[in-house]
Amino acid sequence: MSEDRSRILNLLADGKITAEEAERLLDALAARAGSSATSGESAIKGDPEPLIAALPKYLYVKVIAVNGDNVDVKIPIALVRSGLKLTSLIPSKAMDQINDSMSAHGMSVDFSDLKPEDIDELVGTLREMEINVDAKNGDNVRVYCA
């Protein structure tokens, strides 16, 4: 196994990247290896750091209110992933209380059925997500990953 390949797989094992992202990186490596093989160069050169660096690492939430109240939050995606993994370990009684409390506040999300593979998919989708809300009163909310 090449060093690049094992590094990507280690990143996947450490939960730094999702299965989908690992697949994309491996595809990119394979494509690079293929192009260098046809041109007679050595199979794989360099490291996948530029490819990994291109992946979004933070989730941004920006609220710009007309009245001057502004909120700007930058959350590492790894923290989102860790948080979601944590939810699958919360005792069911405590989870029921959390779900009840959340639904009482208008957020009917049930985290108790979240599986590890769902978390990877969710985080992968989150990286491509972008939400822009322009309220009538001029308030602006943006949620995106970069």
Binding site: K57, N67, G68, V71, P76, A78, L79, S82, G83, L89
Partner: protein, 94 residues
């Protein structure tokens, strides 16, 4: 596993008060947290073993503890900025 957060940088600015800039060295707390964590983990392992032997379905307190530490470690790089016309709070975990 990534390194735990080392510094908490907190800035509070207000139009009526003097600005405050706190630089909290979290790395000084980590030896203490490590000692407490090891004790808590030992207790959790015993509790899990007892729950498992008792046939309880939930016996994951030790994993929950380890994952909680992991989640704390991943807070590195988090930034929270809240501001209005009169004041601003800026918190960065490094």
């Amino acid at each position: 596993m990534s390194l735990p957060p080392m510094i908490l940088d907190l800035k509070v600015a207000s139009s009526t008060r003097r600005p405050v800039h706190l630089w909290l060295p979290l790395f000084l707390l980590w030896p203490l947290a490590l000692a407490l964590g090891i004790v808590a983990l030992a207790v959790a392992v015993v509790v899990d073993a007892v729950l498992l032997l008792a046939g309880r379905r939930y016996h994951h307190y030790s994993i929950l503890l380890v994952r909680s530490f992991e989640a704390v470690n991943e807070t590195r790089g988090m930034v929270v900025r809240v501001s209005n016309e009169k004041s601003a709070v800026d918190m960065t975990v490094q």
